[in-house]
Each structure stands twice: as C-alpha cells, then as structure tokens.
C-alpha cells in the first residue's frame, strides 16, 4: 500500500484514460482510488481529484456538457470550493470548463481533425497550488490526442487570466487554434487545473516523453498541502 496522497480518479461512461491516470499516479507514489460517476461522495481521505480523458457521454451536445451534471460532480465541486486540488485532463478539462470550475471553453480544432502527437508546452505561471516545483518557461513534452482542444476565451477574459497568472501552460507552437496557444488554465484560487495534453501518458521513458511527471507531481504536491477541508 502506498502512503502517498489519496487521489480520486473519476470514471464517467465513456472515460478511457482512467486506467492510465491511476497507473501513472501509482507510479509516482500516490494512492489512486477509482470513483464511479454515480457516486455522491468522494472516498474518505481524498486529497486530490483527477477527471481523466475520454469521451464522457459520447461527447453528445458538447464535450463535457453532460458529464457536468453527473452526481459525482457535486462533491467534486464542494471539494474544489474548499481548496482541494482538482486536475482535469483533456475531456476532464472540457468538463471543468462546462461546469464553470475553469474559465473558457474547448472548441473543435482549427484544422477539423483529431490530433495525436507529442507536443511541447511551456509553464506560463507558477502561482497555482500545482506549481511549487515548476519553473517559468520550463518546457514539457507531453502527448495530445483530441478533436476539441481549441481553447477559447474572449479578449477580456484572456487579459484577466494573464493578469492573475491563470494561464498555466501554452503550446510552444500553435497546434489546434487555441486562443493565445493556451494549453491549460487554472481557476482563480489556483487549486483547479485543466489541460488538454495527457500527463498520464508521459511518465515512463520506455513509452516516450516524460513531461507528464512534473504535472502529476504538481497535483501530488498540491494534495500534500494542508487545506481547510
């Protein structure tokens, strides 16, 4: 048994990166606990939450639009409101945006194609709870695989996010048309992070780049912080 922080990994119908997320967290010394979307409470002792990637509810209507109403999102919202760290990856990011826990929205990629590639992202802010070990400008190579990763916020929102240090990551190069090349954002309090790249697929050099380690360790660092819950 791991004595690392207990991280709830949520599975919605259509989620498909939950296994990898749990494996990666375990590899990094955390104690992943699987949580089904119909649960109305998080497991006791939960210190962090991951909403993994996939195609929750078939991406019907808009990506993440229906998952937002899943029963588990109520305790996740409460957990986030009390300062608990929540990480949304890809579809998890889309869900957090639709739920209003993160700013902006993910649209269809500019090129109208599903993209699957290793990309370089840069750390744009170190003000969030996840960033204690990150350095500004630090480059991380992490795969993306999405059809709707084209982040959008209007000019006013983007300016506000930049001023508050809520742009967590940018793509080094434009990959999907995202406004400002934004790859990941945090909430204002800095305890909810969403990103399109998949850190859980980038933790083992045997399988490719390992840029995901810093992101997931950021979650574990945040989960170890004492917060009022």
């Amino acid at each position: 048994m791991s004595d690392g922080p207990r991280i709830a990994v949520v599975t919605f119908p259509g989620t498909n990166d939950d296994d990898d997320a749990a494996l990666a967290l375990e590899l990094l010394g955390a104690e992943p606990v699987r949580v089904w979307h119909a649960e109305t409470a998080l497991p006791g002792g939960t210190a962090g939450v991951v909403l993994p990637g996939g195609f929750s509810y078939g991406d019907y209507l808009r990506c993440g639009a229906i998952a937002r109403f899943a029963p588990v999102m109520e305790p996740v919202g409460t957990f986030a409101a009390s300062g608990g760290p929540v990480l949304g990856i890809c579809n998890g990011f889309q869900i957090l945006c639709e739920a209003g826990l993160l700013p902006g929205v993910l649209r269809q990629n500019r090129q109208e194609q599903f993209i699957c590639a290793d990309v370089t992202i840069t750390v744009e802010s170190t003000s969030s709870a996840f960033a204690s070990a990150w350095e500004l400008g630090q480059e991380l190579v992490i795969p993306i695989k999405h059809g709707e990763g084209n982040w959008y916020g209007d000019a006013e929102l983007v300016a506000a996010l930049e001023a508050r240090g809520q742009i967590a990551f940018r793509y080094a190069e434009d990959v999907n048309g995202a406004v400002g090349r934004v790859a990941g954002v945090t909430n204002e309090a800095g305890n909810v992070l969403g990103l399109m790249p998949h850190p859980e697929h980038a933790v083992d050099s045997l399988l490719g780049p390992t840029g995901g380690v810093a992101v997931l360790e950021g979650l574990l660092d945040a989960a170890r912080l004492p917060v009022a819950r």
């Binding site: 808009r62 639009a65 109403f69 649209r107 109208e112 084209n150 959008y152 916020g153 048309g177």
Partner: protein, 81 residues
C-alpha cells in the same frame, strides 16, 4: 407543446465546421460566401402554455443546450393547427 431550439456559433466565433462546409460547397461550384454550422434540438414540452414553455426553453438553453460563451440560441414554436 412542441418547440425547436436553434443553436448557432456566435458571430465572430471561429467555426471550422462551417468553414469546411463552405469550402466544400464552393468546390461543388456553388457561389457561397460563407456557411455556419449550428445544431437544433426539437423539444416536446408537457406544458401547453406558451409563456411557460418559452421561459423553460430559455432556461434549458442557458443551462445545457448552448454554451453562452460561444453559442447563441433562438426558440421557435411549431405552428398550432
């Protein structure tokens, strides 16, 4: 009563699907300046009161059917016979 909610990408919002459709139409020789792709949701409501229905449809459009950041919606009622 029956109604249709039409959801459109807001003006100025990038619509890659619409651009692709427009391009395809031009390729086919149609004189198309632009095309935008939205979606429609047919809703059958329990109520027969138009005001109540309209209020409910507006609420459900804001709650779920459209994302107000990037989409607008209009509500159309089926002609009563």
């Amino acid at each position: 009563m029956k109604a249709t909610v039409l959801i459109r990408p807001k003006e100025g919002i990038l619509d890659p699907q619409g651009e692709a459709v427009g391009e395809a139409l031009r390729t086919l020789g149609y004189a198309v300046t632009s095309a935008r792709v939205g979606r429609l949701v047919d809703v059958d409501l329990e109520t027969d009161d138009p005001a109540e229905a309209e209020a409910a449809l507006a609420a459900m459009s804001r709650d779920l059917l459209a994302n107000p950041m990037i989409e607008s919606f209009t509500i159309e009622f089926e002609e009563r016979t």
